[in-house]
Amino acid sequence: MDFELSGEQQMLRDNVARLMKDRCGFEARKGYQASPHGWSDALWREYADMGLLGAPFAEDDGGFGGGAVETMIVTEEFGKALALEPYLQTVVLCGALIKHGASPEKRAELIGKIATGELRLSFAHTERQSGYDLNDVALAARKDGAAFLLNGEKGLVGQGDSADTLIVSARLSGERRDRRGIGLFLVDANAQGVTRRGYPTQDGQRAAEIAFANVRVEPKDVLGEDALPVIERAVDETIAALCAEAVGAMSEALSMTVEYMKTRKQFGVTIGSFQALQHRAADMTVALEQARSMMYLATMMAAEEDAKERAKSISAAKVQIGRSARFIGQQAVQIHGGIGMTYEYKVGHLFKRLTMIDAAYGDADLHVRRLADQGSLFA
């Protein structure tokens, strides 16, 4: 057992951390957030130049030969800086759908374009009625000769308003909640029949509700015809990356809080001298370390082939991350007092991102329930 990063991985972390410090300080981020995309094209090019966009893909597919550990390193740093770029959507989530679902030729074509930064992808999957159920897909894919016609609506598509290509899940057969019969389709975001309504989200990012009216998909753009296992696997990998992003955000929230405790004076002393606050900060540390441990577990298990074992570990990690995130986020605001409530100050935005991470892909309660219906975590 070895928790050390390799020399290359440490370098990757240092490079991403430096880029975030130089180009994604909290004031700069406000500018990116206010831009039409809601994120920075210039930073996206930097990510491509640094090799971040191809990091977790095999070299044969046009990537740089990394894996879940590289994703963890990058997203943890993004979490500290609250980076806004569609890394999770394009590289992690859609990247995994392509990695596990697409044909070798299609894989090489698309991953090559992801790595160079040409392709910004979003996964259009969730629908108004689906909640956290990945199998609940109503959007219909109807055969039209060799092609397919898509009809229906998707919601909460992360950065769906700025993506240039969408991966759309659609029902080929069966009832709305059947596990079988869900296909994956590659759709130009500006294709005829696609209508997008973009909007800001609570955490400063953007999403879109997207309607599909007779959108035509050629056979070459069908990524898979019975794709739920691929979707579940991609979501598991995304949860692992979200855990790392959350750990980054939690560690930033804690270090800002501790720094504030060392400088803020009341009653003639720094508030860090008060034991009530010291113990709260210690509890935040415990929560952070437990979350970090589960981030490692999720990272290690993200590539596990046994879907059941993988899902168990990922659920366990999501529970811990969700609970730690809620506690650390709430207490970071509490200890900052009034300043923590203001929009201009970073800590509240960390809290909001952490809150939305818990709400993504199943909150802590949902994953506890899932674990409760399976056997012990300890073989």
């Binding site: 057992m1 070895d2 010291q278 900060a281 210690a282 409760a372």
Partner: protein
């Protein structure tokens, strides 16, 4: 980064498991599973089996009986022993005074005491806490003065675990009342048979007898009862307490309790069916398991981190806090399994031949819950641990 166990480590785990299966006496194991009190003889028997195998003191230096295992292997061993419901090593010798002696003791002390700790010929107890010195241990008042060729020690120790079995006690006593409170303390090794020592039991809320008061009334110990240098005892005590916190996460014990919990919760105790059918109860188990899984990983991080420097890690305080909370949560869930029939009180320590009231497995559950409130108090209370985290990790 690779978080899997190596082939070698997996083989080692299988070896330990097989050894436990073949060598742990069934009667001792059954007491462990049921949560019943072990007798002194149970401890002696198991320790001697381990000592014969050469596994009684894995973390010690090889020349004194250590195994030379990597920290990961030591941790695997501990986990298997705990999960296999074997008796735990008596920490006062193996983890506390033993390391103090081989690190700071004289050659004569090493030769005299260490081999007798390995096979439990000497049972040690810890003379640290006093009625007026709990968390603020350095304010202790037991005194030692030199008188001719002996030390004369007087004072009162308390919370002395299993002093009723002990052959020896290690004692912190004040040798320089004029110095700053941490700087006038020395560390002594005292034979419990010495005249002037009296042990009085303290009954705990579960009705058990684990802890005692130890009175020292002009107890005369030879000059070589002193460990290391006079007035340096506080340094040795800090070293010892840092060791005490290692392994305090008790991950394997909590795993064994969860095994037992699943077993008992599968029994249809009442007409409503087994407790495991209750989704709310299952969710509570799942939530504890998540915490324990995280703790297990945190412990591995602390262990592999220490591979490089050998200094105690303030992250041990994280292990103490979380480990104790989880132990308390598991004993609480075990008690909840039995519901209303947690009520009948069954005297521990085989003091009665009465048949149990209700379910024969239920008797130890509520006492274990009550008893385990201690784990967030001893070994530096969880509030003390939070203070350590605030100072040593956060710099507050």
């Amino acid at each position: 980064m690779d978080l899997r166990l190596t082939e070698d480590e997996l083989a080692f785990r299988a070896e330990v498991r097989a050894f436990l299966r073949d060598n742990l006496p069934a009667s001792v194991r059954e007491k462990g599973v049921a949560g019943r009190k072990l007798s002194k003889d149970d401890y002696l028997r198991w320790t001697r089996i381990l000592a014969d195998k050469g596994w009684a003191v894995p973390h010690w230096p090889r020349e004194w009986g250590g195994t030379g295992w990597s920290p990961i292997k030591q941790s695997i061993f501990l986990d298997e022993v705990q999960r296999g419901n074997a008796p735990e090593a008596i920490a006062f010798g193996v983890s506390m005074v033993g390391p103090v002696i081989y690190t700071f003791g004289s050659q004569a002390q090493k030769e005299r005491f260490l081999p007798r700790i390995v096979d439990l010929r000497d049972w040690w107890c810890q003379g640290f806490s006093e009625p007026g010195a709990g968390s603020d241990l350095a304010s202790l008042r037991t005194s030692a003065r030199r008188d001719g060729d002996s030390w004369v020690i007087s004072g009162q120790k308390t919370w002395t675990t299993m002093a009723q079995y002990a052959d020896w006690i290690f004692v912190l006593a004040r040798t320089n009342p004029q110095a700053k409170k941490q700087e006038g303390i020395s560390f002594f090794l005292v034979d419990m048979k010495t005249p002037g020592i009296a042990v009085r039991p303290i009954e705990t809320i579960d009705g058990g007898h684990e802890v005692n008061e130890v009175f020292l009334d002009d107890v005369r110990a030879p000059l070589d009862a002193l460990v290391g240098e006079e007035n340096k005892g506080w340094d040795y005590a800090k070293f010892l307490l840092a060791n005490e916190r290692n392994g305090i996460a008790r991950v394997g014990i909590s795993k064994a309790r969860l095994d037992r919990l699943r077993e008992l919760a599968s029994i249809p105790v009442y007409g409503s069916g087994p407790k495991m059918q209750d989704p709310f109860f299952r969710a509570k188990i799942a939530a504890v398991e998540v915490e324990l899984k995280a703790l297990e990983m945190t412990q591995m991080r602390v262990i592999s981190n220490r591979r490089n420097d050998g200094k105690p890690d303030p992250a041990s305080s994280v292990l103490k806090i979380k480990g104790s909370e989880i132990q308390q949560a598991t004993t609480e869930l075990l008690m909840e399994v039995v519901g209303p029939y947690a009520l009948p009180y069954e005297a521990p320590d085989d003091r009665t031949n009465e048949p149990p009231v209700g379910f024969d497995w239920a008797g130890p559950l509520a006492p274990a819950y009550f008893n385990n409130r201690k784990v967030s108090i001893y070994g530096g209370s969880n509030e003390i641990q939070r203070g350590i985290i605030a100072k040593a990790i956060l710099g507050l």
